[in-house]
């Protein structure tokens, strides 16, 4: 059965179809791993099997003797800076002298066939002397430095109000979250093609073309103009493509061999080849008065940054800034520190920093409700932050902050019908394993609220540039904003149709060649930033068109409007389709859009560091087999603060997809480390939710309170679904089991062997982490 291809167009507020949807369902969309170039070679990297070792030598002679191996490169072959990094270049392109994590690249090979490249890599002999790795994040700051820059990557302190304030009720706890992997489906891949000018064209899946370009050019010792990046199809990102993977290495191999070089990571390499979500150890103490009003939060958060800096600075800042949750708290003493260890590097993943502290502060809120004898939802409502209130950083909320509304609407959603007694066999905990016994299955309900900033922050004020070109009634948009699956391409078309009233909107391929940076596809920022840039560029084109018609017809500019693709005067004497109104002229405008400035936090962690915030609440219902420790998540209900719905179907997709990643962290996802060794780098052993694990999502409410200052009034919606969904699921498991469960993910043994599992030794909350 077949239907004729047709794409549903739409304006803002409608469920317009993705412009890349048809090729994607047909298997014709070109992802980075689908690229091909005549005469191309295949690259492969040699990675350290040790989390910590010194390198005495690298012997590549055997590899070079293999027929079909065209080049072998090591650190000596990097012509420019030998390191790279998003914030600071501390990560080697190829390790020399020392390897600091398992999987760190040491050498690269290019060969005629991928199997030959693998054999070449296997023939390289690296003389390692393994050394004792530093892997305990709580001890790392005091351990011997594993890098010249030391073991403390970043420290963020927040002091607000009276540090000695006391409340009538005090609850405390130690919480942990594990190392989560973004596990995007499309593995890292790229194609580097050497150019006649001595430069290179790189086709790559990334989240930010221009920041890669700067780092690559520095390593290749080439001017920016000779390092040209072109976006290849991105198979998901979730933060893992903020840092570079093989970008520099394949450019080097292409320049060395004079031939195109393609590299595609296997899934195992992908687990080694990108950063992960920081595991966290979090000590918390909350003070409240007898009515349940929060008096003070004290928190000490230790984030394992792994071997290199990546985005640990921003992650740590976020963990600290959001450590109090979306609540009014007059007094705060918070310290977050990211430490360097010989574990895999950690960096950006959806909701970074905010996910970790939310897990802890929401567990604390439930503990507090228990201590006060209050309903957990009621306690949250009593403390919910609202416009005009301050965060623990002193920043006053000026925008939309419908926290009470998201809490109320989510909590009021009807509960799912049925229960373990009537569920289908496969719907019980354990699913297709059919291991659960109905008699020992208990249902639990848990609730959590979370929030996070939109856009970059703390004085890092970036921008996005977009160009609109209107020719013969067809608009072409050029913008380097990266589409990772979130649907920016759809929104860019919707915005253009909305402003210009044209039907046909062409999106030029994103690259670094003919447009300035759009900033990163992260921090829920592209709808606001690049959406704002596209809107501004379209408005500039509209204004020029109306000005042209105004002077041609001698009609005041104010008397003209662009309505549904026609230039119309208020008296209707002029009524021209756009294509006629332009009289063959091509109208083109390029506009750079910036958000209002943000400030760095001061020594006490005070300051207006953020542009905007988004909030969401989640209520989880779970069934738990108490004896086997198996959990089935039955339903997640949610309410989210979205500003304005621009594309209903895409928004639901972000909410459901974000919740799936939160559910994963709650009950199954963890990269397991043993003295720095990754034990489960595969989809066989690192488990992400399948269609059987993922429950239905009930969207109780999307709160549309337009955000002042946001183009179109819309907030980014990608991250909030991931932030409090983990906390809600674990709260539900606590409700079903009566266990404290201070760690995510909750493993079967945490439930089934609860009595037999020793509690981790806690250091007192106020012990300082030495620097």
């Amino acid at each position: 059965m077949s239907t004729v291809t047709g794409v549903r167009r739409g304006r803002l507020g409608e469920s317009a179809a993705r412009p890349d949807g048809v090729p994607k369902v047909r298997g014709q969309f070109a992802f980075s791993s689908d690229l091909f170039s005549e005469g191309m070679l295949w690259g492969h990297l040699v990675r350290s099997p040790h989390p910590s070792a010194t390198i005495r030598g690298v012997d590549v002679s055997e590899a070079l003797r293999i027929p079909g191996v065209r080049a072998v490169l090591t650190a000596d072959d990097v012509p420019g800076r030998k390191t790279y990094g998003l914030d600071y270049p501390d990560q080697p392109v190829f390790a020399w002298d020392v390897v600091r994590y398992m999987g760190e690249p040491v050498a690269g090979v290019a060969a005629d066939h991928p199997e030959t490249a693998r054999r070449g890599a296997a023939a390289i002999v690296v003389d390692y002397v393994p050394t004792e790795p530093v892997t305990d994040s709580e001890a790392a700051a005091d351990a011997a430095p594993i890098h010249p820059l030391g073991n403390v990557l970043y420290r963020q302190k927040i002091r607000r109000g009276d540090p000695d304030a006391k409340g009538a009720v005090v609850v405390e706890g130690r919480y942990e979250t594990g190392m989560q992997d973004q596990a995007f489906m499309g593995p890292e891949s790229g194609l580097a093609i050497p150019a006649e000018d001595g430069g290179v064209d790189l086709y790559i899946a990334t989240q930010w073309l221009h920041v890669d370009q700067e780092q690559i050019a520095a390593c290749l010792a080439l001017p920016l103009t000779k390092v040209r990046l072109h976006l290849a199809g991105v198979g998901g990102a979730f933060g893992a493509r903020e840092d570079m993977s093989m970008q520099v290495q394949i450019c080097l191999l292409a320049l060395r061999t004079g031939r195109p070089v393609k590299m595609t990571y296997s899934r195992e390499e992908s687990f080694f080849g990108h950063v992960h979500r920081h595991p966290a150890v979090m000590f918390y103490r909350h003070h409240a008065d007898s009515e349940g009003q929060l008096v003070k939060v004290e928190a000490r958060l230790i984030l394992d940054g792994g071997a290199y800096l990546s985005s640990s600075t921003a992650v740590t800042m976020n963990a600290a800034v959001f450590a109090g949750g979306p609540y009014r708290i007059p007094n705060a003493v918070v310290e977050a520190v990211a430490v360097r260890t010989n574990n895999p590097p950690c960096g950006a993943m959806r909701g970074f920093g905010a996910v970790q502290s939310c897990f802890a502060y929401e567990a604390q809120m439930d503990k507090l409700a228990g201590a006060l004898g209050l309903d957990p939802v009621e306690l949250r409502l009593r403390n919910a932050i609202k416009p005009g209130d301050s965060l623990i950083t002193g920043q006053v909320l000026r925008g939309a902050a419908p926290v009470a509304e998201v809490i109320r609407t989510c909590a009021a959603a009807p509960l799912p019908a049925g229960g373990p007694a009537t569920a289908a066999e496969i719907g019980l905990p354990g699913g297709a394993g059919r291991a659960a016994d109905r008699d020992r299955v208990r249902r639990g309900v848990g609730f959590a609220v979370g929030f996070k900033n939109l856009m970059y922050s703390g004085g890092f004020d970036d921008s996005s540039t977009a160009r609109c070109r209107l020719e013969d009634g067809v608009a072409t948009i050029t913008c380097a904003a990266v589409e990772v699956g979130q649907g920016f391409v759809t929104l860019a078309q919707q915005i253009t149709r909305d402003v210009l009233g044209v039907d046909d909107v062409i999106l030029a391929p994103p690259g670094t060649v003919d447009i300035a940076s759009a900033g990163s596809t992260s921090a829920s920022r592209q709808t606001w930033m690049s959406g704002g840039a596209v809107q501004a560029a379209c408005l500039a084109v509209r204004d020029r068109l109306l000005a042209n018609v105004s002077s041609r017809y001698g009609v005041p500019r104010e008397a003209l409007e662009l309505v549904e693709g026609r230039v119309v005067s208020l008296d209707r004497q002029i009524d021209l389709p756009i294509s006629e109104a332009a009289q063959g002229e091509v109208l083109e405008e390029t506009v750079t859009f910036s958000h209002p400035p943000t400030a760095e936090l001061d020594a006490n962690g005070q300051g207006d560091a953020h542009v905007s915030f988004a909030f969401a609440a989640h209520r989880a219902v779970v069934d738990v087999d108490l004896e086997l420790g198996l959990v089935r998540v039955i339903e997640i209900a949610t309410s989210q603060d979205v500003g304005r719905v621009l594309n209903p179907v895409q928004l639901v997709g972000q909410v459901e997809g974000g919740i799936a990643q939160g559910v994963g962290l709650a009950v199954m996802e963890e990269l397991i480390l043993d003295h720095g060794r990754v034990r489960n780098p595969s989809f066989t052993d690192y488990i992400i939710p399948t269609a059987l694990d993922m429950p239905p999502v009930r969207i109780a409410a999307l709160i549309e309170e337009p955000e002042p200052g946001a183009p179109m009034g819309a907030k980014g919606v990608g991250e909030p679904p991931t932030i409090s969904s983990t906390a809600a699921v674990v709260a539900a498991i606590r409700a079903a089991t009566g266990l404290e469960l201070p760690r995510a993910p909750v493993r079967p043994q945490d439930i089934a062997l609860a009595g037999a599992t020793p509690t981790p030794q806690s250091r007192p909350i106020d012990a300082e982490v030495s620097s």
Partner: protein, 160 residues
């Protein structure tokens, strides 16, 4: 490499010559890199994620787990062979598009093939049966909600 062989594969109704191919190449690799059919995707190469799903003699398989040289004589259908014509979509492809089941799209071809196989063998599955049938296809973007909606829409359209 010395282990090179020639053979022919039958894909989407056409014979394809595979020349001087390394014996160890998977069906997925040959489809993608030798036959110009990159619709089947490479996401785990371990048979866990279903992104490379194809039909072999009407049976749903992970093409990453099939040795290409062992697929000689089999009738292979890939995502590229599901629609009736070059400018058409299958009903399931159209439903994926209409219901918003596509985000990054990397898992999409494998899911489309899986759902074709499911509805071929079970035209009226319950939601749990759908979930079980596609549980071998990992998706990291969607949380499966819109994918289930697409399957339901295609199923209802077929029922008339």
């Amino acid at each position: 490499m010395s282990e090179l062989i020639d053979y022919q594969l039958q894909v989407n109704g056409l014979g394809h010559d595979v020349v001087e191919a390394w014996l160890g190449e998977s069906l997925l690799y040959v489809l993608r890199e030798r036959l110009g059919l990159p619709g089947s995707k490479n996401a785990c190469e371990q048979g866990e994620c279903g992104s490379c799903s194809v039909l072999m003699d009407g049976k749903l398989v992970c093409s990453c787990m099939v040795l290409a040289a062992g697929a000689v004589g089999a009738d292979i259908v890939t995502v590229e062979g599901l629609a009736a014509g070059e400018h058409e979509l299958s009903d399931i492809q159209a439903a994926f598009l209409a219901e918003g089941a596509v985000q990054c799209g990397f898992c999409t071809p494998g899911l489309v093939v899986s759902v074709h196989d499911l509805l071929e063998h079970n035209p009226d599955p319950t939601e749990l049966e759908v979930r079980e049938a596609i549980s071998g296809n990992l998706c990291r973007c969607t949380g499966y909600g819109r994918i289930l909606a697409a399957v339901r829409a295609a199923q209802e359209a077929r029922q008339g």
